[in-house]
């Protein structure tokens, strides 16, 4: 047990990093997924292949990129290819094991929204939009999703379906014959949710240390299913915390430069 205190965000990033197995080929979203994927690479998964949608294959950045196409990603990559190539040949071509996505909203079947809050024509909040996510969600072998768990994010009904998870649950995803099997885990700052094998409804299967169950239930906009054998996530190790904090400190220094 580490004595070092840690934040809920650190627990989330570390728990998300652990989901990525060594050697996996991972299509990485910007932000939380990128932090988790690089932490994995710098700890237990040195052979992970990180692919960014700017076309960089096998990126090994020393600092986290602010954008999905920072020079750091290209300079440390095994190969850099065009946008047409990355989406057509590598993603659609079936070369991706894991798609790692963030989201603004998620529903109980792990469909996600990154497009708009409110009505599409008269939105209350206009979000950046789809980017690569719809096809990452469709064509990656499996999908990991990481985001903070709140009632605003974990909603009964999405305002907009940007990327397809398990649709209406059960075998409803199968109607589209997607090459990938869809979301396999959602990692939040409170716990880990995984789809039920039959209904595909997200179920809390692991809760982070010290988080009361009521808090997770309250942070979910639908009646949350809880696994009968709810596990407690292993707390961050000293090494995981040290590597993550070093990475974030290097990143903050690098991005403050300029002007």
């Amino acid at each position: 047990m580490p004595d070092t205190p840690y934040t809920a965000d650190e627990m989330m990033t570390i728990a998300a990093a652990r989901m990525l197995r060594n050697g996996a080929v991972c299509f990485v979203g910007i932000g939380l997924p990128s932090a988790a994927a690089n932490l994995a690479r710098l700890t237990h998964a040195p052979e992970v292949v990180l692919i960014y949608e700017s076309g960089t294959i096998g990126s090994k950045p020393d600092v986290l990129p602010l954008s999905i196409g920072d020079g750091e990603l290209a300079e440390t990559a095994d190969a850099v290819v065009s946008s047409v190539e990355i989406f057509s040949y590598w993603l659609q071509g079936g070369r991706i094991d894991v798609g790692f996505l963030g989201a603004a909203q998620i529903d109980r079947f792990a469909n996600i929204n990154t497009t708009v809050i409110g009505d599409y024509k008269t939105p209350s909040t206009r979000l950046p939009g789809a980017g690569g996510a719809p096809e990452i969600a469709a064509s990656s072998g499996e999908v990991l999703i990481t985001l903070r768990q709140t009632r605003r994010a974990f909603v009964e009904k999405l305002d907009f379906v940007t990327s397809t998870g398990h649709l209406d649950g059960g075998n409803s995803r199968e109607q589209f014959h997607f090459p990938g099997k869809g979301p396999t885990a959602v990692i939040t700052d409170l716990g880990i949710l995984t789809p039920d094998p039959v209904t595909k409804e997200l179920t809390l299967t692991s809760i982070h240390p010290g988080v009361p169950l009521e808090k997770v239930i309250e942070a979910t906009g639908w009646p949350l299913k809880v696994a009968p054998e709810l596990r407690t996530t292993a707390p961050p190790t000293e090494n995981e915390l040290r590597v993550l904090r070093d990475l974030q400190a290097r990143t903050a220094r690098a991005h403050a430069d300029g002007l």
């Binding site: 076309g55 196409g69 850099v80 946008s83 989406f87 469709a138 991005h255």
Partner: protein
């Protein structure tokens, strides 16, 4: 080979369909500023990843429509001017046509290949086709698989920034090259700004080279991608992208920034000097 101001004057007209492409890298900021300076109006803008330069063009009232797949300030947040135009119609309403990245690259490739549509395994199960009639579905004539189809993107003019060109106007770019080559080949006219002119391109075979005869104008604008970056020349100025958030969030702050640094300066060098002077005063 032209001055940038002359190239924009000759090749970008009010009402044109214009793609200023670049995927984080090599964003043609200088050319975007020149569009604002010349007060172009009624443009349909296309870009996979509209970022700060599109925020500036839209906030300056140059555009009536945006075709895109991801609109944000990467790693920072919203594009406030884009949002203001979409949500509140300021300074004028902006129609949006929204895709995914995979859909956009397919549409550009179809444009470059002069095909009536491009096809991809995409969009299924998403709400995007409900709001965009340019996303339709077809049945594969061989397997019966249901596939998405998108019409080609064929801009009136595509504008990109690249590292260098030779004296004959052949252009070389490297690093994250995005969809620039397809965007150029899909367009009726093309403007390229470059960091420098060189006597010999020294491009290895298979490099991304745009032969001079597919480009309408090549203009030298040193640092012309700032605050984006040009690999091998300068880094992305992430601090500027963060600072932009505070400038763009307020209409008046935005307007006075544009007036001081863009419309109040003669060219991109003037813009950079103006920014530097302000930084020194602060």
């Amino acid at each position: 080979m032209l001055q940038l101001s002359e190239a924009i004057r000759q090749h970008v007209h009010d009402g044109d369909v214009v793609a200023l492409e670049g995927f984080t890298h090599l964003i043609p900021f200088a050319a975007g500023h020149e569009i604002i300076r010349q007060g172009k109006r009624g443009l349909t803008l296309i870009r996979m990843t509209p970022d700060v330069i599109y925020d500036q063009i839209i906030g300056s009232g140059c555009a009536k429509k945006l075709i895109f797949s991801w609109g944000g300030n990467p790693g920072v947040g919203s594009l406030h001017r884009l949002r203001d135009a979409v949500e509140k119609g300021w300074p004028q309403p902006l129609v949006i046509e929204e895709h995914s990245h995979a859909g956009m690259v397919t549409a550009y490739a179809a444009g470059a290949a002069h095909l009536p549509f491009g096809t991809l395994r995409g969009y299924l199960g998403t709400d995007l086709p409900k709001h965009n009639s340019n996303i339709r579905f077809i049945e594969c004539p061989f397997t019966g698989e249901r596939l998405a189809a998108v019409p080609p993107i064929r801009p009136d003019v595509t504008i990109v920034h690249a590292q260098r060109a030779d004296r004959r106007g052949n252009v070389l770019m490297w690093g994250v090259v995005g969809v620039q080559k397809e965007a150029i080949l899909a367009a009726k006219r093309a403007i390229v700004t470059v960091e420098e002119f060189v006597d010999r391109l020294e491009a290895p075979p298979n490099s991304v080279v745009l032969p001079s005869w597919i480009v309408s104008a090549v203009c030298q604008v040193k640092g012309g991608a700032f605050p984006s970056y040009a690999q091998g020349y300068y880094k992305r100025n992430n601090a500027f992208y963060k600072q932009w958030d505070k400038i763009a969030v307020d209409r008046d702050t935005f307007k006075s920034w544009i007036e001081r640094h863009v419309t109040g300066t003669k060219d991109f060098d003037g813009f950079r000097r103006s920014l530097n002077q302000e930084a020194e005063r602060a």
